[in-house]
């Protein structure tokens, strides 16, 4: 099957998936026992105010009759699908949801980027290393570590890491690692985790929802290396926690995948041909081991979205996860709907990318199989 036709088919199949996710969310938020008017105005609000607010929120008509659920559904869904997220009710009242999300996004992206990187850079080489020295002491240490690492709850790891960094003692070297000029004394506080201005500036130049000035992206100011290093220092513990489960998975799957391919006939042939060990590992073992690793790596995105709520909360990072948590507790329904919509979109996009990538790394996979 032609790749573009396959892609179109996948996108067509993704539509019911997106609609399903949004419908479930809509039903929970609008049909469930939530009373946003009460939450926004408080318990003792005057009935006339409550009523006016309910009209404004689209729950009742001006004459007092309730707006039918299907009509609310139609309104909410058509706005969402046109990327019109409306205004926030409570988190930042009357500010457009899109601008709130854009202002919070850099922190989450900065965190997510490093958690994927840390997991990849540590997990895969460790897994390969363990697989190449199977059943040695270093293998047991590496794969045993992977097993425990995988079983650790993110929130707990975050609490323990944040706590030990604050305390100093054994971890105090980390504060001094790169210490910025404004940090006096060099300390670790969870409330200063920030996005480097280079990254946030990048975002302020892009207006995601009113058109993207792509050209401006090409003129990114040269990042200040030292600032980036300090920002990296702040984000690293959180990224390590968020990537922990994926890292454990990558160690495990990487190890078995290497074990499997190293005992195969084509590696034997390569050895017999006289290829250097490094070439065998990179070209023949590594490439084949990448196939089972792909779903793990792509699965990271799934874990990142859920995990960011907990990690951002413990490390006080002002990102999308924290925003979601605040919005659902208040409750601020437009913000929650918009965030769920974005997360569902990311998920669906990652899934399609994964299937396409399969065909790239593994020519044996035909597009018919996966459709």
């Amino acid at each position: 099957m032609n790749r573009s036709i396959y892609l179109l088919k996948r996108i067509a199949l993704a539509l019911p998936v997106i609609l399903f996710g949004l419908t479930v969310t809509f039903l929970i938020l609008y049909r469930g026992p939530l009373d946003p008017a009460n939450a926004i105005l408080g318990q003792d609000a005057a009935p006339s105010d409550v009523r006016r607010l309910r009209v404004a929120l689209g729950y009742i008509n001006p004459d007092g009759s309730p707006v039918p659920l299907w009509q609310q559904y139609y309104g909410v869904m058509s706005d969402l699908l046109l990327f019109d997220f409306g205004n926030s009710w409570a988190v930042q009242r009357n500010v457009s949801v899109a601008s709130i999300i854009v202002s919070r996004m850099p922190a989450t992206l900065w965190l997510g980027f490093w958690s994927v990187m840390v997991a990849l850079v540590v997990g895969i080489p460790t897994g390969f290393f363990a697989g190449l020295r199977a059943n040695s002491l270093s293998d047991y240490v590496a794969s045993g570590g992977g097993i425990v690492w995988r079983a650790m709850p993110n929130f707990w790891l975050a609490v323990i890491l944040a706590g030990s960094l604050t305390a100093g003692g054994l971890m105090s070297w980390y504060r001094h690692f790169p210490c910025g000029p404004n940090e006096n004394p060099c300390a670790w506080r969870t409330d200063v985790v920030t996005t480097p201005s280079e990254v946030s500036n990048l975002f302020s130049t892009i207006d995601l929802f009113t058109g993207v000035p792509v050209l401006e992206m090409l003129f990114i100011p040269v990042p200040n290396g030292f600032n980036l290093l300090i920002a990296f220092k702040w984000i690293l513990p959180a990224a390590l926690v968020l990537g922990s489960a994926s890292m454990g998975n990558e160690i495990r799957i990487g190890r078995t995948a290497v074990l499997e391919s190293i005992n195969s006939k084509y590696v034997e042939t390569a050895k017999a041909k006289g290829l250097s060990p490094r070439r065998i590992i990179v070209k023949h073992v590594g490439r084949n081991a990448a196939i089972p690793l792909l779903p793990v790596i792509m699965g990271e995105f799934y874990l990142l979205i859920g995990g960011s709520v907990l990690v951002e909360k413990v490390f006080s990072i002002n990102g999308l996860g924290n925003l979601f948590f605040r919005a659902i507790i208040v409750p601020d329904i437009p913000v929650v709907m918009a965030l769920v919509f974005i997360f569902v979109l990311i998920n669906v996009f990652v899934n399609i990318t994964q299937d396409l990538l399969y065909t790239v790394i593994d020519p044996r996979v035909t597009l018919e199989d996966t459709g």
Binding site: G21, T25, I28, R150, F155, V159, S244, V296, V340
Partner: protein, 517 residues
């Protein structure tokens, strides 16, 4: 020996149509011996076992009636109210029965081996604990005995299966035998089984394992039953105090002079194996209470998820085509909403409603877990189900005119059951983690206080990790790591036992197992 000749005699009977009972009647000795030992074991702990059994029955009753209530509620609210009434009356009958079972004497209870007491005069022999031992030793003795009992009991249950297999089963051999025999040499899998037994013991015998009870220490520390006697050094006499007041003076809040660490006594002669919480409650007792609710929620969720996944996998493999595609789209739709976010949403929206109060909020979470975990299990067993649907015996059953539901149950299900077990045990770890993550977030999410929940303990000690009160956050998390590792090990063990070749290619599914929360 008589039994061996009996076995010889019984041999020809094994392949005919005799019933199990008649085979036992022909060769009663192995069964009789097993039953005799089992009877003794059960009698020793009758009260605790009955109590635990009633707890499970109650949870199941609430789960089933709760589900019925929600479904019926969509059609008629008066019928749903009727079900609610039935649920409440049945649940209260069961709690009454459970209270009665607490009156049945059990050997390993805190009445027989008490650990609470005081030293008249401030030094010397202890008044109250078992044999005048120090409370720590009395408690440790009881704990070790309970654990040993649980291990022996589980071994004896397994032994029962062995006796059945050797003497009474109709088939000489079944594939399960190979799986079990391989597991008997699989140390990693056995580690998982031991950990599972350990935590199940905590759920079942938790009230006898803690140094005090959830009732006295946490739920109602200011009732007359919650008075404890202690030696007051200032007045030089033995006085009584409410457990709640004692808790107030046994807080662990991070400073050196206000901390009761692991393996220490507080000012009231109470021993705290894991130390105390920020509100002075005993962490070990809290953990035992948390084990029960965690295991009940996980059990309901995994049961529901496995049922859905197994059923849908067989249906989609049997009919294929558009039904398969429909299930696939539904599964993708469910997976597309990140599970933790959905749980936070549902938990926040339904906080403080009647639905959110069943099982202290655990029931609703269990249902959401069950409804969101099945796509992962379904994807994992869909392959094996498709494979078995193409086997000759399924074709034969079809041409024979067998009903599809019977074909699925009798000819397909046994084949995919092992795979379901693997992925169920691996996903259970993810459920435990997410459940505690919700309790950690608080704000009405997760298990509602004051019912103990592991995640809440981590959250209570959040700011104190670096000080002397490090135990509050550290120990509950370490126990979660242990349990989840054990569940993964159990899954690994079964997978190796079923199919030693299949170690790769399941990365996508195993990501569901760990982390996430």
């Amino acid at each position: 020996m008589a039994s061996s000749t009996n076995t010889q005699n019984a041999e020809p009977l094994r392949r005919d149509d005799s019933t199990v009972l008649s085979r036992i009647a022909d060769n009663p000795w192995p069964a009789a011996r097993w039953v005799a030992v089992m009877g003794v074991l059960v009698l020793l702990e009758l009260g605790a076992l009955l109590g635990g059994f009633l707890n499970v029955v109650e949870a199941l009753l609430i789960a089933v009636t709760g589900l019925a209530e929600v479904t019926v509620g969509l059609v008629s609210s008066s019928l749903a109210a009727g079900i609610l009434g039935f649920q409440q009356s049945a649940a209260s009958t069961l709690s009454g029965l459970r209270a009665d079972t607490e009156g049945i004497p059990t050997l390993l209870s805190r009445d027989v081996i008490p650990n609470q007491g005081y030293q008249p005069g401030g030094t010397g022999a202890w008044e109250g604990p078992f044999l005048g031992l120090e409370p720590a030793y009395a408690w440790a003795l009881r704990l070790v005995l309970v654990l040993a009992y649980a291990l022996v009991l589980s071994y004896w249950l397994f032994r029962g299966w062995l006796v059945f297999r050797e003497h009474y089963r109709q088939m000489e051999w079944s594939p399960t035998d190979d799986v079990v025999d391989k597991l008997r040499t699989h140390r990693w899998g056995q580690f998982g089984i031991v950990i599972l037994v350990l935590f199940l013991t905590m759920g079942l015998f938790g009230p006898a394992m803690g140094p005090t009870t959830v009732e006295q220490n946490i739920l109602s520390p200011y009732t007359e039953d919650s008075r404890i006697e202690y030696y007051n050094a200032e007045s030089g006499s033995v006085e009584t105090v409410f457990a709640g007041e004692a808790n107030f003076n046994a807080k662990s809040i991070g400073s050196q002079d206000s901390n009761v660490g692991p393996m220490t006594y507080d000012d009231y002669g109470r021993f705290h194996p894991f130390g105390t919480l920020t509100n002075g409650r005993d962490l070990f007792t809290f953990m035992m209470g948390g084990a029960r609710i965690s295991l009940i929620v996980t059990g309901i969720a995994i049961g529901l998820g496995t049922l859905l996944a197994g059923g849908l996998a067989m249906v989609s493999a049997f009919y294929r085509g558009s039904i398969d595609l429909g299930v696939l789209t539904l599964a993708d739709g469910i997976v597309s909403v990140p599970r933790l976010l959905l749980l936070i949403m549902v938990s926040a929206v339904f906080a403080n409603t009647w639905l959110g109060n069943i099982l202290d909020g655990g029931f609703l979470l269990a249902v959401v877990f069950g409804l969101t975990i099945w796509p992962f299990l379904w994807r994992a067993v869909r392959g094996p189900a498709l494979q078995v649907a193409q086997e000759a015996w399924v074709d034969a059953a079809k041409s024979f005119g067998q009903q599809p539901s019977i074909i699925m149950r009798k000819h397909m299900f046994p084949y995919i059951m092992g795979y379901l077990l693997i992925y169920a045990s691996m996903s259970a770890g993810g459920i435990i983690i997410s459940l505690s993550a919700l309790s950690f977030l608080g704000n009405g999410l997760g298990i509602s206080p004051p019912t103990p929940a592991w995640g809440r303990a981590v959250s209570l000690g959040q700011g104190l990790v670096s000080g002397p009160s490090w135990h509050i956050s550290f120990i509950p998390g370490a126990m979660i790591v242990l349990l989840v590792t054990g569940m993964n090990a159990f899954g690994d063990g079964i997978r190796d036992a079923i199919d030693p070749e299949s170690d790769t290619g399941e990365g996508g599914e195993t990501t569901a197992a760990g982390g996430g929360g």
